[in-house]
């Protein structure tokens, strides 16, 4: 007697369980798609954020560079010209035969101070923005830097390049120049190195710069943070490239930039 009822109950319960299973399956599928979309959305947001930060950094570096250029030019053209004229007048005064020896000595002192101010002004202006970088390009400027460093005698610096006379974008030239100056400065100040080498290689769409020295290298992480390596990395990233410090004897850094 109980068997038919059992079959009827199964006939009711089983389709219902089927419906519940169908609902669960559909919700699971939708949820799977939703999670995938969400991950995709997060990745896109992250990419946008990074791109925005990069753009911000690039703008900030560009503003900094143009301001440096303006200050360097103002210093050179206005203050430099004023100091040169003052020096010229002082030299003229010195040649006056009616002048007392005491006054002549004072004028000579003033001329010496003026000349010293002129030298400082030229150095600061050059450090802010070397005029030859804009006029003659990166290679010529670097050759000049190499000569200056070698003349000082503390470090033997060599440059190997395959760029020749070709010029790059202003952004790239200034960026590379600043990065190299930071690296040379680090070598002179911290590395106790005798020799350093700069290599610039250009392929069809990128520029590779390698910098090596035979110094003590990076001793600790704290030292690395203090070496301005972060600013070099930020500059490289802002131009769309990357910077890396490689393992080995001494110090070896590599910068790859798109051209």
């Amino acid at each position: 007697m109980e068997e038919p009822q059992e079959i009827e109950l199964l006939g009711i319960v089983l389709p219902f369980l089927g419906i519940v299973f169908l609902i669960a399956l559909a919700v699971l599928y939708l949820n799977q798609y939703f999670q995938k979309q969400l991950t995709q959305q997060k990745v896109t947001e992250q990419e946008l954020k990074i791109a925005q930060q990069k753009k911000l950094l690039q703008t900030s570096i560009n503003v900094q560079e143009s301001e440096r250029k303006r200050i360097a030019s103002d210093l050179h053209d206005e203050l430099g010209a004023t100091l040169s004229i003052s020096r010229m007048h002082l030299m003229k005064l010195e040649q006056n035969p009616d002048m007392s020896a005491e006054l002549k000595s004072s004028i000579q002192n003033i001329r010496s101070v003026t000349e010293s101010a002129l030298t400082s002004m030229r150095r600061i202006s050059h450090e802010l923005m070397p005029a030859q970088l804009a006029s003659f390009g990166l290679v010529k400027t670097l050759q000049s830097v190499v000569n200056q460093v070698n003349e000082a005698g503390e470090l033997s610096l060599t440059l190997e390049e395959s760029l020749g006379e070709s010029r790059m974008s202003w952004e790239l030239e200034v960026g590379l120049y600043r990065m190299l100056m930071e690296l040379v400065h680090n070598t002179i100040k911290h590395s106790e190195a005798n020799e350093a080498h700069i290599s610039l290689k250009k392929t069809f769409n990128q520029l590779e710069m390698n910098y090596t020295d035979d110094g003590v290298g990076i001793i600790s992480k704290d030292a690395a943070d203090g070496l301005g390596l972060k600013s070099i990395e930020a500059r490289a990233n802002a131009i769309g490239g990357f910077f890396q410090v490689l393992d080995g004897v001494g110090f070896h850094a590599r910068v790859i930039l798109p051209t």
Binding site: F16, L22, V27, L30, Y33, Q37, L38, Q41
Partner: protein
């Protein structure tokens, strides 16, 4: 108990009419998603009114149910498509809606004629709505979505809860009710339908709260 069951069925249309009046009052200040929901409420109220009139005139009003199932699902699918935009495959809801429309048409024309109770279409509609509601609950639980739909979050929770409760009870009534028809009396049948009316009233109350809590347009 019998008195209560009869009363639930009698007064089931009141929340629908009230919800439609409230939606009409707010309509110009409602955001797009809530306007679409308002269309569903307007449709429900119109069908409810016409069916009442037909009932008083002693005419078979089951044809309206066939229309209500079809149009109601289209509007609710549109509503869910709008609120789940970006979280669900774009063509999925559209595809399901077209499939359901074709299914109901075939069902009404060839299987459950216009003058009979379309339990199959109602069951399928309830299953689809439950899937959408449960998925919406899952979506609303996510922190990112909650942040994105901040203004709508509370409102959507009320609306989704109302729809979920109603369609879950409908599934019980239309599917299980039909299966057990041989075992119960007319009073049991009345209890079952009063339960359905109760959940229908609950749904429209939830929809009204959802509309009340929804963000408003600054300029209509």
């Amino acid at each position: 108990m019998e008195y209560l069951a009869v009363n639930f069925i009698e007064y089931a249309s009141i929340p629908v009419i009230l919800a439609a009046i409230y939606a009409g009052f707010l309509y110009h200040r409602l955001v797009t998603e809530m306007r679409i929901l308002s269309y569903f409420i307007f449709l429900s109220a119109a069908i409810e009114l016409v069916s009442k009139v037909m009932w008083y005139m002693k005419e078979n009003n089951l044809r309206l149910l066939h229309l209500y199932v079809l149009l109601g699902f289209v509007l609710l699918a549109w509503f869910y498509k709008t609120i789940l935009k970006g979280f669900i495959a774009p063509k999925l809801i559209g595809g399901v809606t077209i499939g359901f429309v074709l299914f109901t048409l075939v069902n009404s024309l060839f299987f459950q004629s216009l003058d009979t109770f379309n339990s199959v279409a109602l069951t399928v509609q309830a299953v689809l709505m439950i899937i959408l509601c449960v998925f919406t609950f899952l979506v609303l639980m996510n922190d990112i979505v909650r942040e994105e739909r901040q203004g709508l979050f509370s409102s959507l929770n009320w609306i989704n809860s109302g729809l979920f409760l109603y369609y879950l009870s409908s599934l019980m009534v239309f599917y299980i009710g039909n299966q057990f028809i041989q075992f119960y009396t007319s009073l049991t049948n009345q209890y079952l339908w009063s339960m359905h009316s109760f959940f229908s009233m609950l749904m429209y109350v939830c929809l009204m709260v959802g509309l009340w809590k929804s963000p408003r347009r600054l300029n209509s």
